[in-house]
């Protein structure tokens, strides 16, 4: 079966996000009232799998995220 997957990988709470800080500042400079800007990593793909949850969870642990510094979440939807 085919699935449409989106993974979001975020830095753990408490770890600072230098890139997010710079972009946040840039937006504030343009006059927007932006706070706590973060730049999670996002991956979108099609997956052929019989056990998509298990495989996506594995992918995150094995490659897409670094468990020492990241948390992750994902959405999995069947491809029509």
């Amino acid at each position: 079966m085919k699935w449409r997957v989106r993974v979001l990988v975020r830095l753990k709470e408490g770890l600072n996000d230098p890139e997010g800080r710079v972009i946040g500042n840039a937006l504030r400079n343009l006059g927007y009232k932006v706070e706590d800007l973060r730049v999670p990593k996002c991956f979108e793909f099609t997956l052929e799998s019989e056990r998509p949850e298990k495989e996506v969870e594995e992918m995150c642990k094995r490659l897409l995220a670094n468990p020492l510094i990241h948390t992750w979440e994902y959405t999995i939807e069947p491809v029509k």
Binding site: L15, N16, P18
Partner: protein
């Protein structure tokens, strides 16, 4: 003569000068494409560069290549394993060394000369330095900000310092915990460092301080 493999991943770019530095240090070194094997060598170096263009996270994709299983065995057997810059990132990503290298505190690539304090001279790579000696080398990285949840868990080898060996926030170029520039495993046979010793191995290039990393490594194998 001790033989070293310098592993080349797609995007590695400090392989030639690393081979040259090992040669100057009295060893023999060969570039080994990552699809090959390192079984016949006495030691291995993971050089700097941008393996897989640093996509995803620096070192992440290289760390999952088959050849890293051989590197892991090397490390466990007590053979010398040296990771420089991107090589250090590959070593942490593969879990051979603890911690993670995150984007610099100012999220930009930065290439500059820094001073390092040698705080551990009992590793395979630092035996020829004096304890507490201050040396000069260039850094060149965008993700060199060393992070570990519990710094007491690591063996610190190099710290960013000033000319006199003072370790302060000002001498920290990338935001690393405790100004860490290089760490080793418990046994001292695996070293990961962000600065480039191979770029400080020639009198015309600004410093020869880095050459002793390779000399130590060569002598350690001979011992």
């Amino acid at each position: 003569m001790p033989r070293f493999a310098v592993i080349v991943f797609p995007g590695t770019n400090c392989d030639f000068e690393t081979v040259e530095a090992i040669r100057k240090a009295g060893g023999k070194a060969e570039r080994v494409w990552y699809k090959g094997s390192i079984k016949d060598y006495d030691g291995v170096v993971l050089p700097g560069g941008f393996s897989y263009a640093d996509y995803l996270r620096a070192g992440a994709i290289a760390a999952r290549q088959r050849i890293m299983e051989e590197v892991r065995e090397f490390a466990e057997e007590g053979k010398p394993v040296l990771g420089i810059c991107n090589g250090f990132q590959v070593l942490t990503e593969s879990g051979i060394l603890p911690g993670a290298l995150r984007p610099n505190k100012i999220p930009r690539f930065i290439c500059r000369w820094v001073y390092l304090k040698v705080v551990d001279t009992n590793t395979a790579f630092t035996r020829l330095y004096e304890p507490g000696e201050v040396i000069k080398m260039p850094i060149a990285h965008a993700e060199g900000n060393y992070y570990i949840d519990d710094p007491s868990k690591v063996r610190i080898v190099f710290q960013y310092s000033d000319e006199k060996g003072n370790i302060t926030e000002d001498t920290n170029p990338n935001g690393s915990v405790l100004n860490i520039a290089g760490i080793s495993n418990e046994k001292g046979n695996v070293l990961g460092m962000m600065p480039h010793p191979e770029r400080a191995s020639d009198r015309f290039l600004g410093s020869e301080d880095g050459l002793r990393v390779f000399r130590s490594m060569v002598e350690w194998v001979k011992r």
